[in-house]
């Protein structure tokens, strides 16, 4: 039984704003990874990231809101409103049964660091009352509700690297429970100096201690992720609701599956052995697979080991990380990519990939592919071993 349909997509990405611009750039094989411009990354690598240089917040969101919105809220807000417009669900709709669910792993840490720096150096009496409301992680969700006049449930969900997927899961539960007839689900993160510097200090980012700095998911030479930023949003509603209002359907969400790998340390990714030994993984089928692999050897190996167990056939496997870098709440950007691939019959190339890991029986497309694919699988795993798989199909099912 299908869970819900996707009737709207909105994307704010380093490759472009809006689903069409994002998709065209992705299919052309471009990468947005370049030297960081927003802050000084320091004299030695890492110095790269995929940045969103202009957020068209003033074109999309009400001006009085934009003045007070931080960068994370602007990216999530623009993505959400674009998705709602795409779904033809505007401000005119009565908002009591329309919900907002946002996925975020870290939130607005750049302004949190700025706020704290002022407290540390100038004392608490000079802390900014204007900045503080933006520091709560649910600020973007509230801004979206205010922009749209949506007064249904308003939730922000955090689950590390599967924050976007978890937000979608919560949204579908809201539909099932009759708490909303449609939900805009959005997820995103910003590139902040404070997170970049922490991950650099941890030696988590490419190039770690070897090779060139680059994002090459699935490659034998992968040596750490390159950070990205951005947001994506989807409008989900029940198949009945979409049919009733004659909405165009991008894709049907067939199942959202959660699984948990055995871990001793909840703060890191489990080793691939945990995926090999897991006794109760779901067996899934899909014509295309969209992985959260981020060009870190540990996460690439974990996701591919999982896929080898969960997907018996050997479908093309794709990752966004070479094109737009990676951030913790990228799951909905990946889901949007999957929906666009099925509806357009095109699969973008895995940018940057040169030597695919030979031990996995998958096809990693170095060139864009065309085909008529009916189903896609979005996979994500978080530190702590929580995983999610989302099965989608191209055809809108009739209820």
């Amino acid at each position: 039984m299908s869970e819900a349909v996707i009737s709207g997509i909105g994307v704010v990405s380093p490759l472009g704003i809006g689903a069409t611009a994002f998709w065209d750039a992705l299919c052309s094989g471009r990468t947005a990874i370049a030297e960081i411009r927003r802050f000084d990354p320091g004299p030695t690598p890492p110095r790269l990231a995929a940045e969103v240089h202009e957020i068209p917040a003033r074109d999309v969101l009400p001006a009085p809101l934009v003045r007070r919105m931080d960068r994370v809220s602007q990216m999530i807000g623009v993505a959400a409103v674009l998705a709602v417009r795409d779904a033809c669900l505007g401000r005119s709709a009565p908002g009591d049964d329309l919900a907002v669910v946002v996925g975020s792993a870290l939130g607005n840490l750049s302004e949190a660091a700025q706020f704290l720096e002022r407290v540390f150096t100038k004392g608490p009496s000079l802390a900014s009352p204007m900045l503080f409301p933006n520091l709560v992680m649910n600020a973007p969700a509230s801004q979206v509700a205010t922009a749209l006049g949506w007064r249904g449930p308003n939730l922000t969900v955090s689950a590390g690297e599967i924050s976007g997927e978890s937000a979608l899961d919560v949204a579908i539960d809201l539909l099932r429970r009759g708490r909303a007839r449609a939900v805009v689900v959005a997820a995103g993160e910003e590139l902040s100096a404070v997170v970049f510097r922490a991950l650099r200090d941890f030696r988590h980012l490419s190039p770690r201690r070897r090779g060139r700095e680059r994002s090459i998911p699935f490659d034998v030479e992968a040596n750490g992720p390159v950070l990205g930023e951005g947001a994506a949003a989807v409008v989900v509603e029940t198949p009945e609701s979409a049919t009733r209002r004659g909405a165009r359907v991008h894709a049907t969400i067939e199942r959202v599956i959660r699984f948990q790998l055995a871990v001793k340390n909840p703060h890191v990714w489990p080793a691939p052995g945990a995926a090999r030994e897991a006794g109760d993984l779901p067996i899934l089928s899909a014509d295309l697979v969209f992985s959260g692999a981020d060009s870190s050897p540990e996460r690439d190996a974990l996701e591919l080991t999982l896929l080898a167990r969960m997907v018996p056939a050997d479908p093309p496997v794709y990752s966004l990380a070479g094109a737009v870098g990676s951030h913790a709440a990228q799951g909905l950007t990946t889901l949007s990519t999957a929906a666009l691939a099925l509806s357009s019959g095109r699969l973008p190339p895995v940018v940057g990939l040169e030597q695919p890991r030979p031990e996995f029986p998958f096809h990693f497309p170095k060139e864009a592919l065309s085909g008529s694919w009916a189903s896609g699988l979005v996979l994500g795993v978080a530190r702590g071993g929580a995983g999610m798989a989302i099965e989608i199909t191209r055809e809108a099912r009739r209820p």
């Binding site: 802390a127 992680m137 649910n138 749209l148 006049g149 308003n154 939730l155 969900v157 708490r179 871990v263």
Partner: protein, 404 residues
């Protein structure tokens, strides 16, 4: 239809460790708000807060993991341990993937991260150390609980500011009702951090003295910290295994003001919608409710708006039911507040008393309901509502019923 019951509770807050200490304090009308001792308050508008004791979780957590836990994690593990043991869920023979973890919080391991940031900015640290930052994301407490208690079911963290853990419990109950889990560890945790303290201070939202909800002299909230944890369970499952059922989680309603980031809708429309949605889900008429545990922050804005919302929902019955703010006792525990207040409400139902609004001495004419001032009262209760509201215009109400 699957019903959801509470079979385990655990508490950690300004009144100390454990449910018995919290119950005694609620009945005695005690106030945990005292000197702020977690960090220096020089330059702040107030020097008060409700401070929880440090939680020792040794024995339940491996030494390497304990080394990395945040203050917030530790309080949650301690409260979860109490709830877990009291529920007997570990002996129920449930598959681990049928037990989920849903948490609410706001700042996670921010207190530890603040210290690192300060030392890094001052040049005292050359690099940011992994320890102290791995536990920074607010979702990491749920990951820790899942690992410690072996829960492999659905897991996520809800962040809706001061209503976070009321929503975590509501969404956890949804998972049980939808059959996606048989039981869950759910609740909230939040520890004092400078960012929040300085932020509320900058907004002039802190009472320089102690908070006085519904009092005409109220001047803001008093911050607190703590954790409250629950084992939520499917009712037939709990009954079959002979669990001691503490209360029924009967209804959950949530709404957005869609109005302003910090100011509540002056008409309280979102608060009204949340209460009505929760009552409808519990299939209870407003007249069937005996007690409302109010959000009751003690800020000039919240208390009259919440009072008006209660009157709008309950009509003439608003004059008969009892309303109180246990934030006057625990302080405002932010992401943990919803869970702590739902716990206070469960204890009120279970032990037959109305928790008081302490420090309420001069009623505000705009706040003219029975707020149970100063002293607890013995009262048999069948049903109660707990309200939680948050920055950004989040409104959440939960309906609890005595179990029979």
């Amino acid at each position: 239809m699957r019903r959801v019951v509470i079979t385990g509770i655990g508490s950690w807050n300004g009144f100390g460790a454990g449910v018995p200490a919290f119950l005694d304090a609620l009945r005695a009308g005690a106030c945990a708000i005292g000197p702020m001792t977690v960090f220096s308050t020089e330059g702040f508008r107030t020097h008060r807060a409700a401070v929880a004791p440090a939680a020792d979780v040794g024995g339940w957590v491996s030494a390497p993991l304990e080394f990395r836990l945040s203050r917030s994690d530790r309080m949650a593990v301690a409260a979860a341990r109490e709830a877990w043991l009291a529920s007997g869920i570990a002996e129920a023979g449930l598959a681990s993937e049928r037990i989920g973890v849903v948490m609410g919080g706001t700042t996670g391991g921010m207190p530890e991260a603040e210290d690192i940031l300060r030392r890094r900015q001052s040049g005292e640290l050359e690099r940011m150390p992994v320890r102290g930052l791995v536990a920074m994301p607010v979702c990491s407490t749920a990951d820790v609980l899942a690992a410690v208690f072996g829960c492999r079911g659905p897991r996520f963290t809800v962040v809706t500011a001061c209503s976070s853990s009321a929503n975590s419990l509501g969404l956890a109950a949804d998972l049980v009702q939808e059959g996606r889990a048989e039981a869950l560890l759910a609740g909230g945790t939040d520890a004092h951090c400078k960012m929040t303290y300085a932020g509320f201070n900058a907004l002039q939202a802190l009472d320089p003295d102690v908070c006085r909800p519904f009092d005409r002299r109220r001047a803001g909230l008093s911050l607190g910290e703590g954790a409250a944890m629950f084992v939520l369970e499917e009712e037939r499952h709990a009954r079959r295994r002979g669990a001691d059922v503490l209360a029924e989680f009967a209804g959950y309603g949530t709404s957005a003001d869609a109005y302003h980031m910090t100011a509540p809708d002056p008409e309280g429309r979102g608060a009204v919608a949340a209460m009505r949605r929760a009552l409808a889900e519990a299939r209870l008429a407003p007249e069937a409710i005996d007690y409302v545990n109010a959000h009751g922050t003690g800020t000039p804005q919240n208390d009259p708006i919440e009072t008006r919302a209660i009157k709008a929902v309950f009509g003439a019955h608003a004059r008969r039911l009892a309303v109180s703010s246990t934030k006057s006792q625990t302080g405002h525990c932010l992401g943990a507040a919803g869970a702590i207040e739902i716990l206070a409400t469960v204890l009120a139902l279970r032990h037959g008393f109305l928790p008081p609004t302490v420090n309420l001495e001069e009623p505000d004419p705009e706040c003219d309901l029975d707020y149970v001032p100063r002293l607890a009262r013995a009262r048999d209760l069948r049903t109660a509502v707990s309200n939680s509201y948050g920055f950004g215009g989040n409104n959440t109400s939960v309906v609890l019923k005595a179990y029979s």
